[in-house]
């Protein structure tokens, strides 16, 4: 296993970490759009208040790591997806400030404004991540000079939007499970009732997207069935998906959360296995695709970065677990709450 493969894995791990952790934040934000009661709205926001910021750092670190390890991917994709990316950034900006601003002025209109900012600022990223992944899976027009030749409209193709709706559904379901752990009474009864519906929608969409992928991005399936890693992720995925409603039904939300996290992780795992060794396939000619070898930094940089990751990440995971343990259990509003 060479350094390029290790970094491909580490970026996948960072994306999985981000998707699991900020995934539930985004899901809570989407559900917030359907919450009317002021007290319940505060529970929603305070359920993620102490942790969302740390969760978003997974995205920043994934971005930084991509820049360091695969600068050509970072440069090509981010400039290629320019307007879509700006839309994502604007959404994340509004989401970040909405929680802090919302409670600062005692006015119904003010709070309403920030409730919308929080909801839309969560919904858009949850959708756009899927759209971006759809485009990557399908391949984007990269020419022989390594430049993206598409435009904003070409990114909004039906297949990618389909994948976007799938990711939106997945994160919302994931968020509903998290919020069930954090809420009580009627609030929880209602949130809990969303989970099975979202689960059905997710399963149907996932089957449809898989079929659609078979036609739209057939190369993904080329030699995958003989890859043992494919089967590992596939079995994990099926187990995760099946276990979610079982656990929710018996009110074991912690286990349901682990199941939906497993689902997210194995979906990204499957995607990585089928893309490998490509990172961004070119739809013009596969020879122009960005791979883990032609888009990477030098071995010296990859090695240095690996040392940084090995030194830093165990520490990060350690204190993240410590902090999550402190905020375990139901949300209790107090003077420090939003």
């Amino acid at each position: 296993m060479d350094l390029n493969i290790i970094w491909f894995l580490l970026i996948a791990v960072l994306i999985i970490g981000y998707a699991i952790l900020d995934g539930f934040d985004l899901g809570v934000g989407v559900l917030h759009l359907f919450t009317k009661d002021e007290n319940e709205r505060r529970i929603n926001i305070n359920s993620i208040a102490p942790v969302w910021d740390g969760n978003e750092v997974w995205l920043l670190t994934a971005g930084g790591a991509l820049f360091a390890a695969f600068p050509i991917v970072y440069a090509t994709v981010f400039s290629g997806f320019y307007l879509a990316f700006m839309l994502l950034l604007f959404a994340l900006i509004f989401r970040a400030v909405s929680m802090e601003f919302r409670g600062k002025v005692d006015s119904h209109k003010w709070r309403n404004l920030w409730d919308w900012a929080f909801g839309i600022g969560s919904l858009l990223p949850a959708l756009l991540y899927g759209v971006a992944i759809g485009n990557i899976l399908k391949g984007i027009p990269i020419n022989s000079d390594g430049f993206f030749t598409g435009n904003f409209i070409s990114l909004l193709n039906p297949y990618s939007i389909f994948v976007g709706v799938l990711s939106l559904t997945l994160f919302t379901m994931h968020g509903s499970i998290y919020l069930s752990m954090k809420s009580e009474g009627e609030h929880r009864v209602r949130i809990k009732s969303y989970t099975p519906k979202l689960w059905i929608a997710f399963v149907v969409l996932y089957v449809l997207v898989s079929l659609y992928s078979f036609f739209e991005a057939n190369y993904l399936f080329a030699s995958i069935l003989s890859n043992p890693l494919f089967w590992v992720f596939f079995i994990l995925l099926i187990t995760g998906i099946i276990y979610i409603p079982v656990a929710v039904n018996s009110e074991k939300f912690g286990r349901a959360f682990i199941a939906s996290s497993t689902t997210i992780a194995s979906m990204i795992g499957l995607m990585s296995v089928s893309l490998f060794p490509n990172m961004v396939p070119s739809s013009i000619d596969t020879a122009y695709s960005l791979t883990i070898y032609n888009a990477s930094s030098t071995p010296r940089t990859l090695e240095t970065m690996l040392i940084i990751a090995l030194l830093g990440m165990p520490l990060v995971i350690g204190y993240t677990i410590f902090i999550y343990k402190i905020f375990k259990g139901k949300v209790v509003l107090n003077e420090d709450s939003y």
């Binding site: 920043l60 970072y74 400039s79 970040a96 930094s297 240095t304 970065m305």
Partner: protein, 445 residues
């Protein structure tokens, strides 16, 4: 419009707006560490109150800082893709290291610090505040590593059409890194101190929360005085020397050395510069002083602007004016803080309404100085994006149409104007509300 100019405008807009918030966060975080330490160890109610009150201001500031910081992490890719391809082998590492060693730390522990007061022991709560300060300082460290590398690149070789890493430690500890770090970190302390002193002055003028205000004022003036003096000497002085030794074009531009003269260089105290032709008007200068400050010799020769190729010199007016105004503000901070410290010592500060008013209205000035310093550093590096290695005009994304950048600039401009106004509105509201714990009304926060 010119795509390069638009990309530069967008970078300037997004970085300058973002750069309002981290200095306030870092400066306040360290002041909070001091307040929380005294509050915890001496069980002092007033210091605990200071901790609680300024933590709320820190929280709002941090939120806007995070929101605008996300943009910066990705903007090298979106708007400067050729730059990213050229320097990715070196420049990405400090950004990733910032995430791993700094962002996780500050964000994780900020949540605990703000929301965990009743959930953990006093010691753990204090530690979480310390980790916010340490994390935000480490964050500044790694970002300044990256920025310093653009100014004084080291530890690389150019091959395969890009800068490739040769020695990681040389790249990290490049010639301008440490002094830039100390100069910038100290400026955040000045910012934090003036913010705290200004708010305290506001209460003293209004004769509200007097005990709270007096204690915060003492803390802020002590920190502010030390930080302001250190900012001039050694940090400012050494930083300027480093520029003189490693970036002579920039030094000539900021000091107004436009024409070669025999003997040592004069220190220009005041002048109005023009770019075309490069001239100073109404100059007040001290002969030989600049040479003495840089080399300890009044006759030492310093290169002037006309000795460099015309297409390799930075804009003259902007760099000269921003640098000199930053220095003037730096002197002003020392003066105000010395005056305040003296009045404090004589126990006359509480009645000195003029000084209190000056302190109140000085709150934004350290921020102005910080922005001017940033302009000096970044515009002074032009036309290079990486000094003597890559020009800014060759670094921009080639696949992003100018209209799309124009759209994003307009949107960033509107959103940031809105956020900036709301930030001020909320912080001013918090200050007016005062440090007393608010009663929580039903249905509000």
């Amino acid at each position: 419009m010119d795509a390069v100019l638009l990309a530069r405008l967008q970078f300037a807009l997004t970085i300058m707006f973002h750069f309002i918030f981290p200095p306030i966060t870092i400066g306040l975080a360290w002041l909070l560490v001091i307040a929380e330490t005294i509050g915890w160890r001496k069980n002092s109610e007033v210091y605990k109150k200071i901790g609680k009150f300024f933590a709320k201001i820190l929280a709002v500031t941090f939120a806007v800082g995070v929101a605008t910081g996300i943009v910066m992490e990705f903007q090298f890719g979106t708007n400067w893709s050729e730059y990213s391809k050229f320097v990715g082998d070196i420049f990405g590492a400090p950004l990733a290291a910032e995430g791993v060693f700094a962002f996780f730390l500050e964000s994780g522990f900020l949540g605990l610090y703000l929301f965990g007061r009743n959930k953990v022991s006093k010691g753990v709560h204090w530690f979480s505040g310390l980790m916010v300060a340490v994390g935000s300082t480490l964050s500044a460290f790694w970002i300044l590593v990256a920025n310093s590398w653009q100014q004084t690149p080291a530890g690389f070789i150019v091959q395969n059409g890009r800068a490739e890493l040769a020695n990681f430690w040389d790249a990290v500890f490049n010639p301008s890194m440490w002094i830039r770090f100390f100069h910038t970190l100290d400026s955040t302390l000045i910012m934090g101190a003036f913010l705290m002193a200004g708010i305290a002055a506001y209460y003293l003028l209004k004769k509200q929360h007097t005990e709270f205000a007096k204690t915060s004022m003492k803390l802020a003036v002590i920190v502010g005085l030390i930080a302001s003096v250190l900012e001039l000497f050694p940090f400012g002085h050494e930083h300027a020397r480093q520029v003189a030794l490693t970036q002579p074009e920039k030094f000539a531009a900021i000091e107004g050395l436009y024409a070669t003269e025999e003997g040592g260089a004069a220190m220009v105290l005041f002048a109005v510069p023009t770019d075309q032709p490069p001239e100073l008007h109404g100059t007040i200068e001290v002969p030989g002083l600049l040479s003495w400050l840089v080399f300890g010799d009044v006759n030492a020769r310093i290169q002037s602007i006309n000795e460099f190729p015309k297409d390799e010199i930075p804009p003259l007016f902007l760099t000269f004016v921003s640098f000199h105004n930053m220095v003037v503000l730096g002197m002003f901070f020392i003066f105000v803080m010395m005056w305040a410290a003296w009045s404090l010592y004589k126990n006359k500060l509480w009645e000195n309404r003029l000084l209190l008013k000056i302190l109140l209205w000085s709150i934004p000035l350290p921020m102005v100085a910080i922005q001017l310093g940033w302009i000096t550093a970044e515009v002074g590096r032009q036309p290079w994006i990486v000094y003597h290695l890559l020009k800014t005009k060759d670094a921009v994304s080639v696949t992003v149409p100018a209209q799309e950048v124009l759209i994003s600039i307009i949107l960033f401009g509107l959103i940031y104007l809105f956020l900036g106004a709301l930030y001020l509105y909320i912080v001013i509201g918090k200050v007016k509300n005062g440090p007393e714990p608010l009663t929580i009304k039903e249905g509000t926060v």
